[in-house]
Point group: D2
Chain length 285, copies 4
């Protein structure tokens, strides 16, 4: 039973829930989930509405056009998604394999609906892992001199494979503003509880600071490093008995779980980032 | 800015969100929050909708009557609440004071809107605490012989003080079915992670079993002891280093927080219990 | 730098820490970790002491004999382990692959020191997974009629492969008392927060009961089903929005992590089960 | 049954556990708890050992002198405490009452052993609360001009009341280096998960950043603001539905619990801060 989902943000005004629900119902749609939030600090209305396509009076191809007049009337920004669309993912890696394995195994056990079409690594280490699951691996090493050229190559691959979403699965390179202007649907896992320990070596710095809890953060990638909208975070308790290697080990479990949750929330169209800095997200879970 | 809130459950059918949102909007209401859930295992639609009274075209006293035709049409069970209604609470206690103090202090710091009108204890110990906050205390000791008569006395006090909600704040007596038939809005805090360690002495049994985590559970009270609909639960990690007294101490923090959250959720009309056994709740948070 | 570890339990008496530390130091041992606990409810002293073998005045083969007089003097039960011993694991599975993958990948990334020598399944489904990592897979289907014979076959394999520890990684069969009398080092993952929802279908029952938190429990297997000493537990928050399938998905993350932690604690000789019912454990972490 | 506790840090060397345990045992002491940790990154041995005074061959007054030769021999820094010493606390407050109430009620229910001798406020608001529990309240308002003089007044009160520990219970002033040089046993509660959102208005900044988890941190106060050794931290999940006022409310629960745990750990002599920057702690729990 396929569904359609609208993610909508609009200047807050009276009657938006009714107008949108009416529009769906008037075309015969059965709403399965409707969730709405108003951020009164910025006067923004945000809504997610999902309805059954079965029984809906419009074919898929005409829904966008049919919704446009209402959207314009309420000055909305909006996305339309269908639940049976199989999004195409590219995973960027370096040497650590735990997030790559985790995403592939979850995809195979159908925790989320997607195709993992491509793995790109700036080291050759994980080629065998990708191949063991029948996924193409492209090795694109990066130095300061080659970065611009290699990013063009990465973008060409994303186009060739028709990629919808890039997941940085412990990819130890910073994407350039140029890259992000050409492809901006990118989720990263940062190995700290942001904004604590932004930047390099968070586990070493967490050890030095003697924190009692460490965390991981999945966020959309923006040009402001480690400042992108946060999708999900989680934490685990540590103690003086934990050496840096223990923090890294415990952190890997967090990284796996937090990244997987974020990818799943994105693929189920449950995340709306908003605000001029883009720093906040609504998670319709 | 007062609001009205409808809590609605109805047999699931096409168009319920639109019908309800339309009804609010058609009368000029600005919806602040609309949240909806369908339990497909029982075919039940559950919704909470909250709108501003300012600008609404009906006076409060006429809203119920105006909603009745739609409610009958969709075979709904429903409640209507106003956000500025000050509910009147009675707190039942025995000897432990931590939940009593906690609720009174939260009420005083306006974490929730209510009047704590009355404390009833089956021991005299906490009379001084109640009086220190200017709250009336009624000491009604209970034995097997006096229980029926004392419960009648309790019910008379609830009527006299026009109580809307009874909170069992570590009240070490079981309310009889007779009591509950006469007054059923009762929230209890159970000092375990139900259904683990239902019944007496959960901390001692948790110690014996060597669990690594303990919990607390706030639930509505029903005739089935420890089986009422769960409103909130939380847990804390323990270890072999924790003696029973440590479990009790750690548990008190859980009890305070879990009970306070449950009372607050109830007072904000965010809890809908449903199902023939009444065991499940939707928490619109 | 290899270490020796003693796990000791003895009737509590004055001077045990000093006697044991003295014995290690008197033989030139540098204590890296010493942790001790007294369960005063049963009058039992429990200790873990780990020291460097480098500089110790006895060869490994003579340590047990040298410790015996002190152990007898204090009526201790004790185990001696060396940190560089590579324990041999057998993993029992049915159809679900997430715990199997998880354990193999952690072993490969050296989160714990062990060899996974053997996978035994009562279904053929996971043979390919085992083989993809070069691990032998034995398919031993079990029915009520064949159970006794197949368990003999399992025991023969454990002997043949010189297995030290069996891990039940979502193995959906109950080991018989006969099996356990012949091989008792067995760790199981139970997909609930024991003692809540012991027995079958815990996620379905958790859904029915409307709990707000679910858990998983790793424990040593004893003849009393779901009553073995608990090694580790963890939990995750759920809501009415989670269907049974969501509970299962969230639970799989718990199962993976809780089982892996328990296996690691066991392999690092940090777990001491004690008590006549065997229900309690000391975790020296 | 009173106990003695030694907290010891010393350059790491072979035999320290044995030497210290021997010293206790040689004088007839029954060790109840012995816990030890080595920070190999700085070559430091840290130990807590607690033994029964009943049966010990030295009167309390002679224990320090008797331990000194061993301490000098191993170049140790050390503290000796007795479990029945009633420490004298001063609580510094501003306007918020939740941590003050919490500490007083816990002290009254004997969660920790101490006398709350004095409350000092830079506003008059909480005088009534202190008096309701029979505790003296001193109102010392602070401006940029009067700060130095008022701190001298604070120090005089600490001396007059023979205060052992100052607890900053949401005290919205920074203690000067001069103050700390004269009195350095000070625990503060910071309303964020340090090092995230150090400084002012952490809840507002957490909201702006859109974090999914907030925290609180209890730490010893040093001249480096928000950089003192961390004793305890805890966190709670938040969502887009939480406005700043909700973060503040949720944070108050964290603040209460985290501060109370830290005070208790300190009073039970379970905290050892070490390192030249003083940033790390060992928590012997």
């Amino acid at each position: 039973m396929a569904t359609a989902t609208l993610l909508i943000s609009a200047p807050d005004q009276r009657g938006l829930v009714a107008k949108i629900a009416d529009w769906v119902f008037g075309l015969g749609g059965n709403i399965l989930h409707a969730d709405q939030h108003t951020d009164s600090t910025v006067g923004l209305f945000l809504m997610r509405v999902e309805w059954e396509l079965d029984g809906f009076n419009l074919p898929r191809a005409e829904i966008s056009q049919a919704f446009t007049p209402l959207a314009e009337n309420i000055q909305a920004q909006w996305q339309l998604h269908f639940s049976d669309t199989v999004r195409r993912l590219a995973i960027f890696v370096t040497k650590q394999d735990h997030c790559l394995y985790d995403l592939v195994l979850r995809q195979r056990s159908r925790e989320f609906l997607a195709t993992i079409s491509l793995v790109i690594g700036n080291h050759p280490d994980l080629e065998a892992v990708a191949h063991s699951f029948g996924i193409n691996y492209h090795y694109l090493p990066i130095t300061a001199e080659t970065k611009a050229a290699q990013e063009l190559q990465q973008l060409a691959l994303l186009k060739q494979y028709q990629i919808d979403l890039v997941v940085l699965a412990k990819y130890m390179q910073v994407l350039s503003p140029d890259f992000l202007r050409n492809f901006h649907q990118v989720i990263n896992i940062h190995h700290s509880f942001l904004p604590a320990f932004a930047g390099a070596n968070p586990y070493h710095r967490a050890y030095q600071r003697g924190v009692k809890i460490i965390g991981a953060t999945a966020h959309y990638v923006t040009e402001d490093l480690d400042e992108g909208p946060i999708i999900e975070q989680d934490v685990i308790r540590v103690s003086h008995r934990d050496a840096v290697t223990d923090l890294i080990r415990k952190g890997k479990d967090l990284e796996r779980i937090v990244l997987a949750r974020a990818v799943r929330l994105h693929l189920e169209n449950r995340v709306l980032a908003y605000g001029k800095s883009g720093a906040r997200t609504v998670i319709f879970d």
